[in-house]
């Protein structure tokens, strides 16, 4: 394929959501999520599904695209700030001695767990094959169940599948949230791209839902970190 026919928006979208699925470090996955939002906006602007009504310099855009960019920044910023501060500290003076001891115990347990967890390539095997499976399904499904054009179908199937696999394989709360945001981004894309008449309110509410979703994930992550000093989901199910 000659290089000038490559749709770079799709490449960027695919790579960023693939990184969210494959990698574990929030310092990479949250910026990847932001890039993903920007790629979706770039793709929608490129395809001109909605008539542009805004001119910024030489760029003509639809307001909807701008809203999507702002939503992406907001959702990523909420999760990013949560990841940086990472703790909803309890009001220690309100807690009884048992609760204080439990907090100290949780901190020690989390510290031990972190120390005993070196980088292992084996942790990336299942996500890698999930990524391969998502790629195969995203190529096959647009042929089996075509809804829009091939490019649109690939984009939304890819986003939805990587999101679902991220949720299934997530080992921490923040990554589960990123998976959910990918799924929501997928249906946002399919609605904007194929609905016969794109209405303002459902799009606005979808953006609001994205922000509320990231706030809920951020709140739960903060709460969990404050309580257990880790975001590892396996700790939640230990007796």
């Amino acid at each position: 394929m000659p290089i000038f026919t490559i749709n770079w928006a799709i490449v960027s979208l695919a790579l960023s959501s693939g990184m969210v699925l494959l990698l574990r470090d929030w310092r990479i996955t949250i910026p990847a999520m932001l890039i993903n939002y920007l790629s979706v906006a770039w793709f929608l602007a490129q395809q001109q599904f909605i008539t542009p009504d805004l001119t910024i310099g030489e760029l003509t855009l639809s307001t909807t695209i701008v809203v999507k960019v702002i939503t992406g920044f907001a959702a990523s910023a909420i999760l990013g700030i949560t990841a940086v501060t990472f703790s909803r500290e309890y009001n220690l003076e309100d807690l009884d001695e048992f609760s204080l001891a439990e907090l100290r115990r949780a901190a020690r347990r989390a510290q031990r767990q972190r120390a005993g967890e070196p980088f292992r390539l084996a942790d990336y095997v299942v996500p890698f094959w999930a990524l391969v499976l998502a790629a195969l399904a995203s190529i096959a499904l647009p042929r089996l169940y075509p809804i829009g054009s091939q490019t649109i179908d690939f984009a939304w199937y890819w986003l939805g599948l990587t999101g679902l696999f991220t949720i299934v394989l997530a080992s921490d709360t923040l990554k589960t949230g990123l998976g959910l945001l990918l799924v929501v981004s997928s249906i946002d894309l399919v609605y904007t791209a194929i609905a016969s008449t794109v209405q303002v309110f459902p799009l606005a509410l979808l953006s609001l839902t994205t922000i509320v979703l990231s706030l809920s994930v951020a709140y739960l992550s903060g709460l969990m970190y404050g309580r257990l000093k880790t975001l590892d989901l396996s700790v939640l199910y230990k007796p």
Partner: protein, 487 residues
């Protein structure tokens, strides 16, 4: 204007209650007054007068009005019950916000994309109530509560995404033009999976027993009563506005009736094998959701009437169940780890509330669930012996689960047997004597709430005619309903 007020009034009061959240009594008083006013507002709002606002169609149909009047009424009772009971710091404000969002959903039922997203947003807001702790609590939130909240968040977000995708696809579908591209079967499957998750139908039910077990019972009650019931109304309106889903899915709907009956059976079976009271209660709600799906999927007047009536019954029975559970779990002066098998004798009002609420969910006479279950059995009879056997089998299993609750927790021998006075030994002082146990009595206001809910359930059970007529009138107006069952 009144439609907008229905939405904004509880939202504004919810925000005010959030600001005043440390003044517990004041907030409860304000919230109860606001919910009574909201209930009156709903009753005074004209029905079936659609208006357009900002490109959206707002309308309140008689069925929506019935439930929209019921939600604030039962929520007010539940909030009143928290007067002397521990509850989350933000419970009242979140309950008001959820009522506001539920009002928006019912008023906007003609805008399915909006309602799907509002349902997700309401679910996300209720996550905050699940992990909520009482004001200035000295305990930490339990890890399993966080796990339940996370599970609920993920499943509700996925349910919303599936429903939204279904509506997008049905918007694109043009019968006869794009028949092969997007099959209505796929759309029905997406919508059923979405509503299955929302209404905790087997096999999408796992969040509900966990939620009932780990979260505050009153939070579970709000979620089941307001959000799940609104989900059902939404599903009915979806079938009304997209008749293609019914017309081109004869086999799919026939399959759904069986799935509903099987879901009820599995729910009841799982209720029977649980060893914790809260989980049994959760699975009884799952059983009931299966019965509702069965009635709805028949698409007949009697089936739909049974499903809607059952949802109304659930709106009364679940708060009664949950308030009774809160009361029964109160420390009563006995050691916390002691097996308590005599709860009915110890706390008669709460014990009766628990028994009667489960009986109402199962459909025992003379409570409110009886008439709806009879309607469902009547429809099942048209499907033949296997279907009626499935439903009656499910109900019998649920009945056994109730019998187990009674045996294991309620009607055991009273622990307080007369004890022979110990002989006072020479040189013994007061400090050597065992301390006098002080068993507390049932909190008065919560007990009154239990009695009121019990009375309403009994009144509807004894005289269901007005409610049946109201529901029947609404069902007659639905265009997708079939006169007879299709096997």
């Amino acid at each position: 204007m009144s439609y907008v007020l229905l939405i904004t009034f509880p939202l504004a009061l919810g925000a005010s209650c959030f600001l005043l959240r440390h003044e517990t009594r004041l907030v409860i008083g304000v919230a109860v007054a606001a919910l009574i006013a909201h209930c009156a507002l709903v009753i005074l709002t004209p029905v079936d007068q659609p208006v357009r606002l900002l490109g959206l169609t707002l309308n309140l149909d008689p069925l929506g009005r019935l439930f929209l009047a019921g939600f604030p009424a039962v929520t007010a009772l539940m909030i009143l019950a928290t007067w002397r009971l521990p509850h989350g710091e933000h419970f009242v404000s979140i309950a008001l916000v959820i009522i506001g969002v539920a009002s928006a959903m019912i008023v906007l039922l003609q805008e399915p994309l909006m309602v799907a997203l509002l349902l997700v947003s309401a679910g996300l807001i209720s996550v905050l109530a699940i992990v909520d702790l009482p004001s200035r609590a000295s305990q930490l939130v339990e890890p399993r509560v966080i796990a339940s909240a996370l599970k609920y968040l993920v499943l509700m977000a996925l349910a919303g995404a599936l429903a939204y995708l279904g509506f997008v696809l049905i918007n694109v579908y043009r019968p006869g033009i794009t028949p092969d591209l997007i099959a209505p079967r796929l759309v029905l499957a997406l919508i059923v999976a979405a509503f299955g998750l929302r209404m905790a139908l087997v096999p999408f039910h796992s969040w509900l027993p966990d939620l009932v077990e780990d979260a505050s019972p009153l939070v579970s009650a709000i979620i089941v009563v307001v959000l799940n019931t609104t989900g059902l109304l939404f599903l009915i309106s979806v079938l009304q506005f997209f008749p293609t889903l019914v017309a081109e899915n004869e086999r799919g709907l026939a399959l759904l009736t069986w799935l509903g009956a099987i879901a009820a059976l599995v729910g009841a079976l799982l209720a029977l094998v649980q060893d914790r009271l809260r989980r049994i209660a959760g699975y009884l709600v799952v059983y009931n959701a299966g019965m509702i799906l069965f009635g709805l999927a028949t698409i007949t007047p009697a089936g739909l009437m049974g499903a809607v009536f059952e949802a109304f019954n659930q709106m009364l029975a679940v708060p009664l169940l949950m308030v009774s559970l809160v009361l029964l779990e109160q420390p009563d002066g006995r050691p916390p780890k002691a097996m308590r098998r005599d709860l009915l004798w110890r706390w008669p009002v709460a014990g009766s509330g628990l028994l009667c609420s489960c009986a109402a969910l199962i459909g025992l006479p003379p409570l409110s669930g009886f008439a709806s279950k009879m309607l469902l059995y009547q429809v099942a009879a048209h499907y033949g012996a296997p279907m009626i056997a499935l439903l009656i089998g499910a109900t019998l299993l649920a009945l056994l689960a109730l019998a187990r609750i009674a045996r294991d927790w309620l009607i055991g021998a009273p622990e307080d047997q007369p004890v022979a006075e110990a002989q006072v030994l020479l040189g013994a002082t007061e400090l050597d004597m065992p301390s006098q146990r002080r068993l507390t009595s049932e909190p008065f206001i919560a007990a009154i709430v239990v009695l009121v809910l019990l009375g309403i359930s009994l009144a509807i059970g004894l005289y269901p005619q007005p409610l049946i007529e109201t529901i029947a009138e609404v069902i007659r107006g639905l265009t997708f309903v079939r006169p007879d069952v299709v096997r």
